[in-house]
């Protein structure tokens, strides 16, 4: 649905996006991660034909973003950063305008606006002026605008920004549901969001893609991936270090201190090795009183920090 080839954007001497290429298909929800100023919004603005690329191009739904911007925009729903919506209109009035300009006419128009007001939980404020709404409502009005014409492609710049935890949950459910059929790109700072909704994530730093994979693949790049964190009662640190450190696939044993009379440990494996089974076997053999035992999946925030600080 979206094919991006070597996209470059320079603002004067500053290169905001530096040779970005990727593909997104229908049924995919692609998470765009990266520190502030990494080029996420700039890439999205190029895909929605708001600004032209300096070099490279992309096709969206088969149309070229440089040559056929109007056709591209017909197939895109776009939620820009900070949800900019007209303050001098009512919610229903605004959505009617957006539907009209998107080519929804006649009796279909009112039906579609009612439907979208229902979907985005805007019923209580439908006749209120947008300027008087809270940030969360403005965000939802803008979201409603993006999905109003049921586009095959959605580009969402920080869609859950400014929402409370309940609203975040609702919007994520909505994205997930739509992601089954549509092609969605969303940018976010919130790493749990990637786990919650994305089928794939791209990490972008200083205008370049530094990682591209499923959330599980990215997590596997964490140094914590496969580590065992455990709490054992009634053994000494020296004892534990000696026994666990002697196991074949263990790279390092890190004591995490004591709490409630339990010794807390983290055991890191050698690269790619599985250690959970051998640790649990040793613990059983020595009749350790294991109170907690946890195999780490790796943490996205750690991967994110490592990759984007390189």
């Amino acid at each position: 649905m979206i094919t991006v080839q070597n996209l470059v954007k320079r603002f004067g001497a500053r290169t905001a996006v530096n040779g970005v290429s990727f593909d997104v298909g229908a049924g995919e929800v692609l998470g765009f991660l990266g520190p502030n100023g990494a080029g996420k919004s700039t890439t999205m603005r190029m895909l929605t034909c708001f600004i032209p690329p300096t070099e490279g191009t992309a096709t969206v739904h088969g149309f070229d973003i440089v040559q056929q911007p109007v056709q591209v925009r017909q197939h895109i729903g776009y939620l820009p950063e900070n949800a900019p919506v007209y303050h001098d209109m009512s919610v229903a009035g605004y959505l009617r305008f957006m539907a009209e300009i998107r080519g929804v006419r006649g009796p279909r128009l009112q039906a579609r606006v009612d439907e979208i007001i229902e979907t985005c939980y805007l019923k209580g404020v439908r006749n209120q002026s947008i300027g008087t709404l809270s940030k969360g409502y403005k965000q939802r009005v803008c979201f409603a605008q993006a999905i109003l014409h049921d586009p095959p492609i959605l580009i969402l710049d920080e869609p859950t920004d400014g929402l409370d935890p309940n609203q975040k949950y609702e919007v994520r459910q909505l994205i997930k549901r739509m992601g089954e059929r549509k092609c969605i790109i969303l940018s976010t700072h919130i790493l749990e969001e990637v786990d919650a909704v994305c089928t794939r994530a791209i990490i972008i730093a200083k205008g370049k893609i530094v990682a591209n994979g499923t959330p599980a693949e990215l997590r596997a790049r964490s140094s914590l991936h496969g580590a065992v964190t455990m709490a054992v009662r009634g053994i000494t640190e020296k004892d534990a270090m000696g026994v666990l450190g002697g196991l074949p696939n263990v790279y390092h044993v890190k004591p995490l201190g004591e709490s409630n009379g339990c010794l807390q440990l983290r055991v890191l494996p050698k690269a790619g090795a599985q250690i959970a089974y051998s640790i649990s076997a040793v613990a059983r053999e020595r009749k350790w009183a294991v109170e907690e035992f946890h195999v780490e999946q790796g943490r996205l925030d750690e991967v994110f920090r490592t990759i984007t600080n390189e």
């Binding site: 603005r45 900019p84 303050h87 300009i101 080519g103 002026s129 803008c142 605008q145």
Partner: protein, 245 residues
Amino acid sequence: MLRHISSVAKRELKGYFNSPVAYIFIFFFLVLCGFFTFNVSKFYEAGQADLRGFFIWHPWLYLFLVPAVGMRLWAEERRSGTIEILLTLPLTVGEAVVGKFIAAWAFIGIALALTFPLVLTVAYLGQPDYGAIITGYLGSFLMAGAYLAVSGVMSATTRSQVIGFILAVVACLFFVLAGWAPVTDALVKWAPGWLVTLVSGLSFMPHYESIQRGVIDSRDLIYYASMIGFMLFLNSAVLNNRKAS
């Protein structure tokens, strides 16, 4: 294409009347029109059943009031970021520019139409030349369009309405004064003859005055049409260049 333009224009016009700006503008426009016509031009004392004393002030009223309408056209869209949604809709920049321009022009037209009690007054007091009144309104409306198109370009160059307003007043003042003797005299000293003619030909005033005399000359109509057309084109170009900055 027309569908897009009319959607944009309708939204824009609704937006005016949903905010106090519209009512404040209309109020001051009417108060100032009344003040200049009755207190400065001495409408009653002049004893003439015509509206010359009313129309003569329009270039000066518009000099401040039209930039006040035009300043928000694009500066506000850029400041609030709504431009990012507007210009990622499936329409061209030109359609958006024309749609917004039409809305603002229609709004000024509404304010102008609300001066109709003056027409009723002259009709009650004497036998006015209705032809001159109609051309007077037409000329005034066309000139307002030219002011507005210039103000729109200035508004597109900035994110600040205040800067947009100041730039628009200065630019409009240039077009008012371009044909005025002190300006042309200053040019004559160093500029080639064709440039002096060009600059003085750009002025709003001679075209406004000639329509005020009750004559609709096709040259004046072409002047206003090309002035507005060129400014709208420039407006699109400025936006294309600066919309993301």
